[in-house]
């Protein structure tokens, strides 16, 4: 992604934050639409139950709300939210481990995710995906989430209808969005070494 496009995303979040400061509830809804799912998923991919991940999401956005007036204008919201969510996830994980009668029980409520990777690698992949998706414009993020991460696996027709785009454009747009994500991750400061994740690269 070009620096201009990245700046456009920052400008959008900055505008939303300013609108929230003025009490604009629609701006708050837009922020939640953009980042609620990503924040919730961070906790899920660390192994929290749905209920615990929901608590972390609620706490994370409550902290955002409490800090709205003091956030710097150039704040990069995705990593800020991720840091807060991660911190509270770790705290809850430590608390759950201490309270578990059987240390394996704290995994019982969690969905078994992909036997292909171990926990640490899965978390790193989640962070990598999270960063990539957060760097996309909203149109691309919504499309890729619908195509690749919707448990109901909607068809191209359903996605086109939901996103109000021509069905014939879904395929080519998805390729452009993935290419955009690849370039964004290449130019951004990534916390995750892709080479460490994938030994063939």
């Amino acid at each position: 992604m070009s620096q201009t496009a990245q700046n456009d995303i920052l400008k959008t979040d900055r505008d939303l934050i300013r609108a929230c400061r003025s009490g604009d509830a629609r701006a708050w809804e837009r922020l939640l639409d953009k980042y609620e799912r990503l924040v919730f998923s961070i906790s899920l991919n660390y192994g929290l139950t749905t209920d615990d991940a929901a608590d972390v999401a609620q706490i994370t956005f409550t902290i955002l709300l409490q800090n709205l007036d003091t956030l710097p204008d150039d704040i990069r919201l995705p990593p800020w939210l991720a840091t807060v969510a991660r911190r509270h996830t770790w705290r809850l994980l430590a608390q759950n481990r201490r309270e578990a009668v059987n240390p394996d029980e704290d995994l019982a409520g969690n969905k078994a995710l992909g036997g292909m990777v171990d926990d640490r690698e899965r978390r790193e992949l989640a962070e990598w995906l999270y960063q990539g998706l957060s760097l996309l414009d909203e149109r691309c993020r919504r499309l890729l989430l619908a195509l690749y991460f919707d448990a109901e696996q909607p068809s191209y027709a359903q996605i086109a209808d939901h996103l109000k785009i021509p069905i014939g454009s879904v395929g080519p747009t998805r390729a452009r969005c993935l290419e955009q994500m690849r370039q964004s991750l290449h130019t951004a400061e990534s916390p995750v070494s892709v080479h460490r994740l994938h030994p063939l690269l």
């Binding site: 956005f61 430590a94 995906l129 690749y148």
Partner: protein, 208 residues
Amino acid sequence: MNESNAPRFSELLDWLEGRLPPDKARDVAERLQTADAATQADLDWLRLFQQARQSVQFASPPPSVREALRQRFAEARQPPGPFQRWLANLTFDSRAQPVTAGLRSAQRAEEDQQRQLIYTTEAAEIALTVRSILPEQNYIVVGQIFPMGDTSTHAFSIQLLRDARQVALAAADELGEFTFADLPAGEYEIVASAGQYEVVIPSLHLRL
């Protein structure tokens, strides 16, 4: 390798996802055998993406989260009005109850590890259960807030302070329950806030 013959990114994606007709898929596979490093890197990146999407969850939180956050925003960003701060009074302490004659020492020992407290204001009541965690001797505080008026329990955020600094933050659930865990012994303050008022427990002493 003639760069113009290299599969485009979109072709690689379609090929990887099995969306190409057999003859086109074979063509891409053949061209990949002599692909340059940039094309190979694109393919590897797409494979990593496929691996990631198969092993990572992206899900939406329950609707109750959005409802709670909507309400919290509405109450936090309402036009300024009179803000009320209620100092809670301790109206019940299980340790202050008289010891029943003949109470066995084991039962009393259990009570020593757990303590119930109730704090009351005109705006809300807060019940706390304080338990010690052995052998670390740290504490768990499980609370429940009961607003007197129309304020939803979901709207409350609860701060735990020590020496005037926030050490933890919790959100009350739909039952008004919240938890602070792994607390070392010491003196704490609890502030439960919702919109235009807050309830303050000025001193909660966790002691060994």
